[in-house]
């Protein structure tokens, strides 16, 4: 039987669990995107990676929604719509929560511009998509500073490994020669590029 205390904790536990899963999925999406641009590993076909990258991004948005809903439904904390949507209005660690709010807006922007990719110019889409780096950094800092599970060893190691991997792939992305010059013309019209109008 679920006691009254456990019943009131359900939404809080939901928020905690979905926050961790959303962060993991966002990290996976960032790593997938970096793999697409760097082609660091040859084996998975780009079309496969792109499909997974898109799906994982959408899944991250869904779990972020569950995270926010959990916070709103939890009667224990003082998170209302304003605290959840407006940075620095939360009584609980305003800066740490603000990192999460800004990361959420960036996630929404990246996802929506990706959905409307065909209607946008490649420059606009790419500019918004680059904010994924900031989104990953903010979400990680939010998890480390605001998360209840920040003292968990597994979570700390996961954050460290994810940050190291993203940093390494970013360096490869910056230092490696651009693919555009050495690719055949038919490959330049790859599916990861927005069609020009």
């Amino acid at each position: 039987m679920v006691g009254p205390m456990a019943a009131t904790q359900i939404w809080w536990d939901t928020a905690r669990a979905s926050g961790i899963v959303a962060w993991a999925l966002a990290t996976l999406a960032v790593i997938g995107g970096l793999q697409l641009s760097t082609r660091l590993i040859r084996r998975p076909a780009p079309a496969w990676v792109l499909d997974v990258h898109r799906f994982v991004g959408g899944l991250a948005v869904a779990f972020t929604g569950v995270h926010i809903a959990g916070l709103l439904l939890d009667t224990f904390t003082s998170f209302g719509p304003v605290e959840v949507l407006v940075p620095f209005t939360s009584a609980y660690k305003p800066a740490a929560v603000a990192f999460g709010i800004v990361a959420f807006y960036l996630l929404l922007a990246v996802e929506l511009t990706s959905l409307a990719m065909r209607r946008l110019s490649r420059k606009v889409w790419h500019g918004v998509h680059l904010s994924s780096y900031l989104l990953f950094a903010l979400a990680t800092v939010h998890g480390i500073t605001a998360g209840t599970d920040r003292h968990n060893v597994w979570f700390q190691w996961a954050c460290l490994l994810a940050a190291a991997l993203v940093l390494f792939m970013t360096f490869v992305r910056i230092l490696a020669p651009r693919r555009g010059s050495d690719r055949p013309p038919h490959d330049r019209a790859a599916p990861d590029r927005a069609p020009t109008r």
């Binding site: 006691g3 009254p4 205390m5 456990a6 009131t8 904790q9 359900i10 809080w12 536990d13 939901t14 905690r16 669990a17 979905s18 961790i20 899963v21 993991a24 999925l25 076909a45 079309a47 496969w48 990676v49 792109l50 499909d51 997974v52 799906f55 994982v56 899944l59 779990f63 569950v66 009667t75 224990f76 904390t77 003082s78 998170f79 209302g80 719509p81 304003v82 605290e83 959840v84 209005t89 939360s90 009584a91 609980y92 660690k93 209840t148 599970d149």
Partner: protein, 138 residues
């Protein structure tokens, strides 16, 4: 295919009413044949193409399942970890002593317990009058 029907090119030849009727009849026959064959389960020219499968459909399903499983595992383990604390502090939220600080009440606080929690959090210390707050940190 009918061989006794005169083939008329509508772009160059003059069409009679009989030719037009014959063309319409042949088109209707072809359409009916296509519909029948599609219903039988075979793909024919003119039938709607089956939707292209996503390249990573299996991985999509696997990742969705893995995410859901991770979510329930984490939530469950957190709930189990808090189980001991919960039984130690079974006081319902509504029954906790209310310490309302009007000056520090948050915009989104709708209940007295929420205001208590907010005030406690702002003070930076766990109040002895609200032992349940401590269980949140586990």
């Amino acid at each position: 295919m009918d061989t006794n029907v005169k083939d008329v090119n509508p772009m160059t030849d003059e069409m009679t009413a009989a030719d037009r009727a014959e063309r319409i009849r042949r088109l209707q026959e072809r359409r009916a044949a296509t519909t029948t064959r599609t219903a039988a389960g075979t793909t024919t020219r003119g039938a709607t193409k089956p939707r292209r499968r996503h390249p990573a459909m299996a991985t999509r399903i696997f990742l969705a399942g893995l995410s859901a499983a991770s979510f329930f595992t984490i939530a469950g383990s957190v709930a189990v970890a808090n189980g001991g604390t919960s039984s130690a502090a079974p006081t319902p939220v509504a029954a906790t002593p209310v310490v309302v600080l009007p000056a520090t009440r948050t915009v989104g606080a709708t209940s007295s317990s929420a205001a208590t929690t907010a005030a406690t959090a702002r003070a930076g210390a766990v109040s002895a009058s609200a032992p349940h707050v401590k269980s949140r940190g586990s």
